[in-house]
Every structure is written in structure tokens, then in C-alpha cells.
């Protein structure tokens, strides 16, 4: 037997994860952990019992342990480097042996060896390798190897690569005595595999997307950072509400892919139904957008009503106010005790409800959405009826406002709501002039009616 007997060891290391600090578009360095729990935590202790020590440089066992990389690198991240690093301490006992050691990297099929910081064919470590352990607590820091791409495919690293990647290393030592020492014990601490990546940050816009069940061209935009990332976002939603509506719409997010920015068309079915979806986020795998959008589909009859009734009016308040009038009728037994937009907005009460519009013109859609979500409150002082006075009728109303009379004026054109009760004309000064012209020129587009007490004036003005 040689006095300088060689022993070789292939051993495998389990490494704990250091949670990286992730910032938008900043490079992150993280250590990967081994998958499974085949190795105990803390310093790796290799003994003949659990990992054979092979004499004479003849390696008969190469155990390699995959890394659970996929779950440790956020979806969509751009992996820049994989590093085998940081052997910071090691022991070998008994301590009269000199040793050489080389890290190994494997894709499960092939294995490469890191030789002085670079990949090379597998071979026994030689004395004088950069990474050496000399004896008890005698070692040099080393083992560094940086792979900027997958050395087996010569392609940029992917997250999937990290799940096929296996790591280990090969140690050889010399027994300075004539007899091999068996079993031997080799221990190192803090072997690390680092991955350098740029995490993918997703944002979704606009913050509020309104659409009609007839719309086919409205979309959510997902923006990736870094902008070079290829993304195919999917979407998830949080809380869904559907106030005062008879049927719930289903949202469909069309699949789309792109680099940096992707528009995903959102549609809603069935026609006429509605939905408010909150906390809608774009997802790349488990990577969610850092912000959320709200998707609102108002009942189509709300859009129809204001297209038909106030489509030509330039002011948003003009359109919103007539929908608020409708909302004020909810639950009122004097107006049929109805509770849904579909039941209240009927052509028998609202001329515009018979409008044939099937999609969502921008302004009408926006105003219907604002009322549907409750963003617009009661801006008509509780009024439940309205009409469009002619200029002559408007003059009568103006006179009643000025006089403050409790006698309800005649020839105002006011609707017959509360015709046998006390009622009050409500002029909202912020309502625009009627755009119809003709007899309606210089009269407000809408004037409102509500119930009153007998001692209250028959006509008032509100801002």
C-alpha cells in the first residue's frame, strides 16, 4: 500500500437560504437550498456510513442533490449568474491529511467540475487545487465558480434549470501515514450556491377599468420591470360585488404575450349583466402585480338610459343625475319597491332605457360606472323624478324659486310624480343647459322633483 494513499470523496451539501432583499429592478443575490431534507441542517458531516469515502481516488459514488431553485426565484425573474461559492470553513479528521477539493455541477445527466474557478471536465482533484483543506481547521477560502449561462446548454439560465441543477463536490486527500484511516470524517461549513437575478416586478393599469358587456376593445395593461422580460400574464380577482343588479357578469381575460408590456382584452358576459371586481392582479406564475385594478361592468341599461336621455349633454353631472334619480327609487314602495337597476330603469319611466346602445361609449360608460359603484352619491337631494322643461316652463319654475311660494306652480311641465301629494321642484344649478335647442334653449337639461312637507317651498335651488 502506498504511504501516500489517496482518498476521494464525493459529497453533497445542504445549504440554508438567506432571504434576499427584493427591490424593483434591482439585482438580487440569493442562496438556494437543497430540495428535500436528506441532509441535516448545519455543517455537513460526511462519514463512511452516510456518504462513502472512497479510497485510492476511484470514485464509485457521486451523489448529487438537486436544488429547489424554481420556488426560490420569483416567477419571471431574469437569472444572470449561478455561483458556486463560499466554502468558509472546514475540518478534516484526523488532522494529518492534506486534501484537494473541487465543486461539481450537474444537470442530472452530465457533470462538470469547477477547476480553479472555471468549468472543466471531471477529474480527480489534484494537490494544489485552489480549494484545499490541509488539516484540522486548516483550509483556504475558495470554490468560487460563476456561470453566466447554463454550461450544459450554453443558453441563458432559466428557472427550470435551477430545478435540474445538482451540486456536490469531490474531495481528495492524502494520508500521510502508511495506513488509510477509515472511517474518515470530513466537515465543511457554509457551502453556498448563489443565484444572481433581477426580480420581475409587474404593475397593472389602469387602476379602474370600466367596460360594457358589449365592449370588445377594453384592456388591462401589464407592465414588466425589467422591460426586457417576456411575459404572458394571467389575472386573478379578489372580492366581487354586484349591487342592485339582477345578474352577475363573468369576466374573461384574453391571453396575450409580449415583452415588457402586454395588453389583455377584458370582456364580460352575458349581455346586460354587471360586476365590480376588486383586487384584480396580473400574475406571472406566482408572481403577482404589485398593484391591483378594479374592473367595473355596470348594468347595460344604465348606459342605455344616459345615452338615450342625456347623450348629447356635455356635463357628467347631467348624465349622473338621472341615474341617481333612478337609484333614489330603490326600495320606495311609492315607486314599486324595486331594488335593481334593471327593474327601475324601464322605458315606462325612463325614456332612455329603450335606447338600443349595446356597448359602452366612453363618457356614458364612465358616468354609469361612477354611479353604479357609489362613487357618485345623492347629488339630486333625494329627488326621484325629473323632466326637461321648455324655456317657457323654466321661466315659471324660476319665478316659483324666487317667490319661495308653497303653492306648486302650474304649466311647468313637471312630471306627475306625487301628483296628489305635496311635491317640490329641485333646480340643480350645476346641471348644464339643454342641448336640444328650440323650445328648450336656455333651459336646464333636467330639473328634479321630490316630495316635501306642506310648509316647504314648492321650488328650491341646490348647487
Amino acid at each position: 500500500m502506498s504511504t501516500r494513499q489517496q482518498w476521494s470523496l464525493v459529497c453533497v451539501l445542504g445549504i440554508s437560504l438567506t432571504v434576499p432583499a427584493i427591490g424593483a429592478a434591482q439585482t438580487v443575490v440569493t442562496q438556494l437550498t437543497l430540495s428535500g431534507t436528506t441532509l441535516p441542517p448545519g455543517p455537513l458531516n460526511v462519514t463512511s456510513a452516510s456518504n462513502p469515502i472512497v479510497a485510492g481516488g476511484s470514485v464509485t459514488t457521486r451523489q448529487r442533490y438537486p436544488l429547489a431553485g424554481l420556488g426560490q426565484i420569483p416567477d419571471g425573474s431574469i437569472i444572470q449568474e449561478v455561483r458556486l461559492v463560499r466554502i468558509s470553513s472546514g475540518t478534516f479528521s484526523p488532522g494529518i491529511i492534506r486534501a484537494g477539493m473541487r465543486p461539481l455541477i450537474s444537470n442530472g445527466t452530465s457533470t462538470m467540475q469547477v477547476v480553479n474557478g472555471g468549468p472543466g471536465p471531471i477529474a480527480e482533484p489534484v494537490f494544489g487545487d485552489l480549494l484545499e483543506v490541509y488539516g484540522v481547521d486548516q483550509y483556504v477560502v475558495g470554490g468560487n465558480a460563476v456561470f453566466t449561462q447554463n454550461p450544459f446548454t450554453n443558453q441563458p439560465w432559466t428557472r427550470a434549470d435551477l430545478d435540474t441543477l445538482m451540486s456536490g463536490f469531490w474531495v481528495r486527500w492524502y494520508n500521510t501515514t502508511s495506513d488509510p484511516q477509515s472511517p474518515q470524517r470530513f466537515s465543511i461549513n457554509d457551502f453556498g450556491i448563489e443565484v444572481v437575478y433581477v426580480p420581475l416586478t409587474l404593475t397593472v393599469s389602469p387602476p379602474k377599468l370600466a367596460l360594457s358587456t358589449g365592449d370588445t376593445g377594453r384592456f388591462l395593461t401589464t407592465t414588466a420591470d425589467p422591460s426586457t422580460a417576456s411575459i404572458s400574464p394571467t389575472f386573478t380577482a379578489g372580492i366581487t360585488t354586484n349591487p342592485n343588479s339582477k345578474c352577475l357578469a363573468t369576466l374573461n381575460y384574453a391571453a396575450n404575450s409580449g415583452v415588457g408590456t402586454v395588453n389583455s382584452v377584458v370582456t364580460a358576459t352575458p349581455a346586460g349583466c354587471s360586476r365590480i371586481a376588486d383586487n384584480v392582479r396580473a400574475n406571472i406564475g406566482s408572481n403577482q402585480s404589485t398593484n391591483a385594478a378594479r374592473v367595473v361592468v355596470p348594468p347595460q341599461v344604465m348606459i342605455k338610459t344616459i345615452v338615450g336621455e342625456a347623450g348629447g349633454q356635455p356635463g357628467d353631472l347631467d348624465q349622473q343625475s338621472i341615474l341617481v334619480v333612478a337609484r333614489n327609487r330603490f326600495g320606495d314602495s311609492m315607486f314599486g319597491n324595486k331594488s335593481t337597476w334593471q327593474d327601475v330603469l324601464v322605458p315606462g319611466d325612463f325614456y332612455g332605457a329603450s335606447d338600443p346602445t349595446q356597448n359602452g361609449p366612453d363618457r356614458e360608460l364612465s358616468n354609469a360606472t361612477a354611479v353604479f359603484t357609489g362613487e357618485v352619491g345623492d347629488i339630486v337631494a333625494g329627488s326621484k323624478c325629473y323632466w326637461s322643461p321648455t324655456f317657457d316652463q323654466w321661466q315659471v319654475v324660476q319665478q316659483a324659486i324666487q317667490l319661495g311660494t308653497t303653492i306648486f306652480p302650474t304649466n311647468t311641465g313637471a312630471p306627475a310624480c306625487w301628483s296628489t301629494n305635496k311635491r317640490q321642484i329641485v333646480y340643480k344649478a350645476s346641471i348644464g343647459l339643454n342641448q336640444r335647442g328650440g323650445n328648450y334653449q336656455n333651459a336646464p337639461a333636467f330639473v328634479f322633483v321630490r316630495q316635501r312637507q306642506s310648509n316647504q317651498p314648492s321650488a328650491i335651488q341646490i348647487p
Binding site: 336621455e309 338621472i322 334619480v325 314602495s333 311609492m334 315607486f335 314599486g336 315606462g348 319611466d349 325612463f350 325614456y351 323624478c385 325629473y386 323632466w387 326637461s388 302650474t410 311641465g413 312630471p415 306627475a416 310624480c417 306625487w418 301628483s419 296628489t420 301629494n421 336640444r436 328650440g438 316630495q451
Partner: protein
């Protein structure tokens, strides 16, 4: 002989007058009772305004009271003026807002199938649920008997009625119009009915009209209304002819 004849005539006249007085004397309490019951029902309508089922129930009861009164208390022998006064007295509590509906109207006519009375009125149901009624009765065995009504054609609308010159004198043409109560704006429904003493027939039933104004003409009527789709005012003119109602404009 002449004296005798005169005496007989006088006797008959006296007897008739006495009978009329007796019938009026007995009719007055019945009329008062009917008016009282209708008044009580009307007050219930105010209290139960929010209850749709109750509203309909009470309105039905008022209609039945009116029908009972006409059938049991009115005599076809009475003059048109007396009939009008008595029915109006019974319906005195049914006086809707004049801007939206007519007060009760009674029309008496000699029609093809006999002397008839047509009553049109709105049952006042606060705050805006007035229920228009047009019902007709025809002479039968010395009484009036219910002949028919327009049903609930005008439910949700107020009621104005106008008599339009009919193609023949043995039918009554009644033009009814009303404004929708809870419509935001001014929407009218019009119907032209013909009543021959037996039943109502609808002669004209246009689509509801917006901001409509009706004008009665010697030979028919015209109605102007807003065409909102084309933002213009449309004037329609109709003439009654032996062939029926013809649109001339």
C-alpha cells in the same frame, strides 16, 4: 170629454210627479250612502298608499260601489242633468289634480242599443297611483245595467276624456288621453273608443306620445307631440268620417 181627458192627463202627470218625488226621496239616502262609502274607501286609499295589493282591492271596491249605484239607483227616465248631478255627487271625493285629470264626467246618450250612460273618473290613489275608469251602462228593464268598460287601459296614466263627433249618431266616440305618472317627463297615452250601447271598441290606439297637446276640431282632432328620436315636433290630424277615423295630416 175634454175635461175628462185633461183630468186623466193631469192625474197621470200628478201620479208621475209623485212617483218621481218618491223615487227621489228614496234615492237621496241611497246616494248619500254610496257617497259615504266611497268617501270611506277613498280615505283608506290614502292610508294604504304603499300597499299595492290593498290599493287595487280598494279601487275595485270603489268601482263596484259606482256600478251598484248606477244599476240600483239611477233610472233611465231621469233627465241627463239629473243623472250627471247624482253621479257626480256620489263621486265627489274622486277629484284628482286638475292639471293631470278631469273630475268625474258623466255622459248620457241615446245609442244604437238603447239609452246609455258613460261614466269616466279617476280613483284618486296617493301619491301618484290614480286609477282611471271608463264604464258604460245601458237601459234594461227600466234600470241601467252594466254594459262594459275599458278595463285598465289607462293604469299608470291620468285621464282626460273628450267626446269626438261620431260618424253616426247612434254611437258615442270618446277620446281618452292620460299622462304617465312616474315617467320622467311628459308621456301621454291616447285611445279613441266607440261605444254603441253594448260594448266599447277601440278605434285608435297610437304608441305613447311625448309632450303631446290635443286640439279638438269640428270634424275630428289633432295632436302634436315631440318626436324625440328626430328632435322635432310632429302634428297628426284626424277626421271622423262615415268610413271611420282617417288621418289627414
Amino acid at each position: 170629454m175634454t175635461f175628462q181627458i185633461r183630468s186623466v192627463k193631469t192625474w197621470i202627470a200628478l201620479t208621475g210627479a209623485i212617483m218621481l218625488l218618491i223615487s227621489q226621496a228614496t234615492a237621496q239616502p241611497m246616494q248619500k250612502d254610496a257617497a259615504q262609502r266611497i268617501a270611506e274607501l277613498s280615505s283608506r286609499l290614502k292610508n294604504d298608499a304603499a300597499n299595492e295589493e290593498q290599493r287595487d282591492k280598494v279601487a275595485g271596491a270603489i268601482r263596484q260601489e259606482v256600478r251598484n249605484f248606477v244599476e240600483s239607483s239611477l233610472s233611465p227616465d231621469q233627465s241627463s242633468d239629473v243623472l250627471r248631478q247624482r253621479l257626480k255627487a256620489v263621486l265627489q271625493t274622486q277629484t284628482p289634480d286638475f292639471e293631470f285629470s278631469d273630475p268625474p264626467v258623466v255622459r248620457v246618450a241615446e245609442l244604437r242599443n238603447g239609452r246609455s250612460v258613460v261614466v269616466s273618473y279617476s280613483i284618486v290613489r296617493p301619491p301618484h297611483f290614480d286609477l282611471p275608469t271608463i264604464a258604460a251602462f245601458r237601459e234594461s228593464n227600466g234600470r241601467f245595467a252594466y254594459a262594459g268598460s275599458i278595463g285598465n287601459d289607462f293604469e299608470g296614466f291620468s285621464l282626460f276624456t273628450h267626446e269626438v263627433i261620431a260618424p253616426t249618431k247612434d254611437v258615442l266616440w270618446l277620446l281618452a288621453g292620460g299622462r304617465a305618472f312616474t315617467f320622467n317627463g311628459s308621456k301621454f297615452q291616447f285611445r279613441l273608443y266607440s261605444f254603441n250601447g253594448n260594448n266599447f271598441e277601440t278605434i285608435w290606439a297610437p304608441e305613447p306620445m311625448f309632450d303631446a297637446a290635443l286640439q279638438l276640431l269640428p270634424d275630428g282632432f289633432s295632436v302634436s307631440h315631440d318626436d324625440r328620436e328626430h328632435n322635432t315636433t310632429v302634428v297628426e290630424q284626424y277626421r271622423t268620417t262615415l268610413s271611420g277615423l282617417i288621418r289627414v295630416r
